[in-house]
């Protein structure tokens, strides 16, 4: 579904389509790599934020199908807090950063499992519809503690993961500060704080439901590409 048809109705904000995801922002994700983070090809753990652009073709809405490409067995699906920028921000310090936040939105991070973090691997992490966003932006003033929200993921209705939006390598303010040091963020841009460690694997035929308390819920069927048909999960008009 193109972003323009999502019902994001918190005036004057709108989603511009520039979505930037923080990857490997949960310390447990790097811990899981162990010594490998110090060895080739990485050579050293990341110093700056690890970021990826999520272009418009990746955006999807609640309820859209998640497509497992032919030849692949499963997808990983993580839950991320989306931070919606409401005011132009460049070179924010940590203290100023929160002042540009309009609100928060649910986001999912879908990927074909891939062991390597060396290359952008867009064929695995940025396929059509792999970045579902919630349909509601919760105003920042309604969510004073955005980094202590419970996160839950269910597969076929069974709880498989519980976590929190806190404990990230870079919290919201620091992430905004570090990103806005080299790229100006504008109203409607969205920064994804990043999914926690242990995003579950899901297979075609299953359903996955992601919750962040106070922010929202995303629910998706997982389907095989050969079943998804020519229209595709993103519903982008031909």
């Amino acid at each position: 579904m193109p972003l323009s048809s999502l019902q994001i109705d918190v005036p004057p904000y709108r989603l511009s389509g520039t979505v930037i995801a923080a990857l490997l922002n949960d310390p447990a994700q790097l811990d899981a790599l162990g010594k490998a983070a110090h060895e080739p090809p990485y050579k050293a753990p990341p110093k700056g934020p690890v970021l990826a652009v999520r272009p418009r073709h990746t955006l999807a809405a609640d309820g859209d199908d998640l497509v497992v490409p032919d030849g692949e067995e499963a997808l990983t699906v993580g839950a991320s807090l989306g931070v919606v920028v409401g005011r132009t921000v460049c070179r924010a310090d940590d203290a100023a950063a929160m002042g540009c936040v309009a609100g928060y939105v649910m986001a999912a991070e879908v990927a074909v499992p891939l062991a390597s973090h060396y290359r952008p691997a867009v064929r695995f992490i940025a396929r059509d519809g792999y970045c579902p966003l919630g349909t509601r932006v919760v105003p920042a003033e309604a969510l004073p503690q955005p980094e202590s929200l419970a996160v839950r993921i269910e597969v076929d209705g069974t709880p498989v993961l519980t976590g929190t939006t806190g404990g990230r390598l870079r919290g919201i303010a620091r992430l905004i500060a570090d990103v806005s040091d080299f790229m100006t963020l504008r109203p409607g841009d969205v920064l994804l704080l990043g999914a926690g460690h242990g995003a579950p694997r899901v297979r075609a035929g299953q359903t996955v439901t992601l919750h962040i308390d106070g922010v929202g819920r995303l629910h998706h069927r997982v389907v095989a590409e050969s079943v998804a048909g020519s229209a595709g999960a993103s519903g982008v008009p031909a």
């Binding site: 520039t18 930037i20 990857l23 490997l24 080739p40 090809p41 990485y42 050579k43 050293a44 990341p46 110093k47 700056g48 690890v50 970021l51 990826a52 652009v53 999520r54 272009p55 418009r56 073709h57 990746t58 490409p69 460049c90 070179r91 973090h117 060396y118 290359r119 952008p120 691997a121 867009v122 064929r123 940025a126 396929r127 059509d128 990103v179 080299f182 790229m183 100006t184 963020l185 504008r186 841009d189 020519s230 595709g232 993103s234 982008v236 008009p237 031909a238």
Partner: protein
Amino acid sequence: MKTARVAHAGALHTAVPHVDGVQLADGRVLPEDAVVWLPPFEVGTVIALGLNYADHVKELSKELTVTTKDEPLVFFKSASSLIGHRGQTRRPAGVAFMHYECELAVVIGRTARKVERTQAMAHVAGYTVCNDYAVRDHLENWYRPNLRVKNRDGGTVLGPWLVDAADVPDPHALTLRTSVNGRVTQQGNTADLINDIPALIEYLSGFMTLQAGDVILTGTPDGVVNVDVGDEVITEIVGIGRLVNTIVGDEPFGR
């Protein structure tokens, strides 16, 4: 046909080339430096290729683990990094190696999903020139090239003209040339693309829907050199355009 988007006298305009500079759709003829040049079309997704010329792979091979036989190295940029012809790009103080990259930019004109290479060119609207700067000091080996290297404000220069595909009979026989302060530092030809335009459209549209306004930056050939504050960098593709950019320091930005 060649078109540009420019700002002049308080409004945005479409402009075409004129012997005395540019001509706006309303008839006004202006010198090239009397308008502000913007990227020449409404840019959707920016798709960039790394290591797509064999000689550039060789140039960087000491620090790389790739070969020309690997899957195309694709990364996304955000349109927020774009500026137009005759713009300024900031070189941060303390950086040791910042370089230009002259690239043929392929503009998608029609939605493409799972398009085979034999049909691919029908989805191309036209071409322009890109200078895709990189600040190599900030390279890290995580989802490389990382955004701090490649997605900086003002670090992606696009223009001056969008040239209709119909006016470019063979986009795989175009001469690329970069000069710094008048000295030619980079030369190449799109004939040497490892993944040519149909191959890229087939590959990309296999996992993502390409939409009108998306642009594919096809990579740069051998010959990237460091640029300094005050340098005038001209990236040119013969028949497509001559894209001028100036390197500035931190001072105008209050840093």
